[in-house]
């Protein structure tokens, strides 16, 4: 079973590598959205420092949502998904493997670029650790919750806009706690409490979301 999951992960990673423009689009979207804010609200460093946590988090959230519809779409289109459903490996685990591969391709780059973007916002150097850690814990939660939405909207017309309507309200806690970690660290309180909460959310989402997404897939593909 582990071999099958490894196979799913490596297959998705290889597919993503063959079509690397898809991956780059998400990262570029993140960079561009973040860079738009100083242009929109003015280059005052003090103001930018205050809005940086929220801006970085909202942009990461939008970027990871942009990529969601691709988690299952290609496999659904060419019938691979149905074969995976028929296979012996539990569908929940396959979904978990696919979400992991998806996060490695779309979420991890965001986490890695974020310190560079934080420089644009003149964020204090001490906060970089909290920023990277909060995104590293938070973006997998976004991918996991998003997989449920992607499974529910599979093959529907107007799936993209519908997906954001379904998924964004569910993202609210992650956004609040994630951006809150950086704000707490900036105010000297330390962001540990929020980071632990994010970790708890990640554990809960990792335990349950793949199975819910698997149930949603069965409904969508029946």
């Amino acid at each position: 079973m582990i071999a099958a999951l490894r196979c799913v992960i490596f297959r998705d990673l290889r597919l993503a590598a063959r079509r690397s423009s898809d991956v780059l689009t998400v990262a570029l979207f993140f960079v561009i959205v973040v860079s738009l804010f100083p242009l929109g609200i003015g280059p005052d460093p003090k103001l930018l420092r205050t809005v940086a946590p929220g801006v970085l988090w909202v942009a990461a959230l939008l970027a990871s949502m942009l990529a969601l519809s691709r988690v299952f779409a290609a496999d659904h289109a060419d019938g691979t998904l149905e074969q995976m459903m028929l296979g012996a490996t539990p569908l929940g685990l396959v979904v978990a493997a696919k979400v992991l591969a998806h996060w490695l391709v779309t979420g991890l780059p965001l986490v890695l670029i974020s310190p560079v973007l934080a420089l644009q916002f003149d964020l204090p150097r001490e906060l970089f650790g909290v920023l990277v850690l909060s995104l590293a814990l938070g973006t997998p939660v976004l991918s996991l919750i998003g997989a449920i939405g992607a499974a529910l909207t599979l093959g529907l017309r107007g799936a993209g806009a519908l997906l954001s309507l379904l998924v964004l309200p569910l993202y609210v806690p992650v956004l609040i706690v994630g951006a809150g970690a950086m704000e707490a660290a900036a105010s000297g309180l330390g962001g540990n409490a929020q980071l632990l909460l994010l970790a708890a959310m990640l554990i809960i989402a990792a335990a349950f979301a793949p199975w819910v997404a698997a149930a949603a897939l069965r409904i969508s593909v029946e």
């Binding site: 809150g180 819910v212 969508s220």
Partner: protein
């Protein structure tokens, strides 16, 4: 003697019952709302601090209450539909959603009308307001998902999964929003009213809650009847009903 729990789970047997329930609860709702509004606007005394503007609570509090309660009822029916694969449960869930969204909207709207004189602003990012707004989005998401799927069976099941995910997420949203605010807002705005509430005020509010409750039942039953007729239009009983009505 064994009870047949599923007797009314088929649209055919439930359809006439729903009609009678809608009539009874509609009449009760009319009575309770009339009595509640009379108590609220004519009998209840003027508040010492807030003047007359507090009277919005006779609508606001019951609406806010129903908005959350209806989401749980919707999720309950949705879960039942997934577990027992009954047709009617999904119909009930989709019949409840618009009423729930309506009450959520009323609660937000009247709350902002009250907030203007009391807090001096239409909107604050208070924990309750924010989570009520998210609740409205959850209702919209549920309705949008169901509207986007053509096959009613798939729409029911997909909506059910979404409603159940939402019901798990709702407490998390509420608490996250609360922590966020208690951490970062110096002077927090409390929704608790004056500690002692005149007996007539309380009575008016309770009667209004029952009125809204009865209204919800009546509206949901009426909507469920329409959904049943629409989905079962090929069946014999639906045809008989249509001919009888025409």
């Amino acid at each position: 003697m064994s009870i047949n729990w599923f007797k009314y789970s088929s649209p055919q047997t439930f359809f006439p019952v729903a009609g009678r329930l809608a009539l009874v609860f509609g009449a009760l709702a009319l009575l309770a709302c009339a009595a509640g509004l009379y108590l609220g606007f004519f009998v209840a005394p003027t508040d010492a601090q807030q003047g007359e503007s507090y009277r919005i609570i006779f609508i606001h509090v019951p609406a806010a209450w129903m908005s959350m309660f209806l989401y749980f009822v919707m999720a309950f029916w949705a879960g039942l539909g997934l577990a027992f694969n009954t047709r009617l449960s999904g119909m009930m869930a989709s019949a409840i959603a618009p009423t729930g969204a309506l009450f959520t909207f009323i609660a937000l709207w009247t709350g902002s009308l009250w907030g203007r004189p009391a807090w001096g602003t239409w909107w604050v990012w208070d924990a309750r307001l924010t989570s009520e707004l998210v609740l409205l989005f959850l209702y919209f998401g549920f309705m949008a998902l169901q509207a986007a799927i053509d096959d009613p069976r798939r729409a029911d099941k997909a909506g059910a999964v979404l409603a159940l995910v939402g019901v798990v997420d709702l407490p998390i949203i509420y608490f996250s929003v609360q922590w966020w605010n208690t951490l970062h807002q110096g002077a927090s705005v409390s929704l608790t009213k004056a500690p002692t509430m005149a007996a007539t005020m309380l009575a008016g509010m309770l009667v209004m809650i029952f009125g809204f409750w009865f209204y919800s039942i009546a509206a949901v039953m009426l909507r469920a009847r329409c959904i049943m007729l629409e989905r079962e239009r090929g069946s014999e009983w639906a045809g008989q009903h249509a001919r009888g009505a025409a």
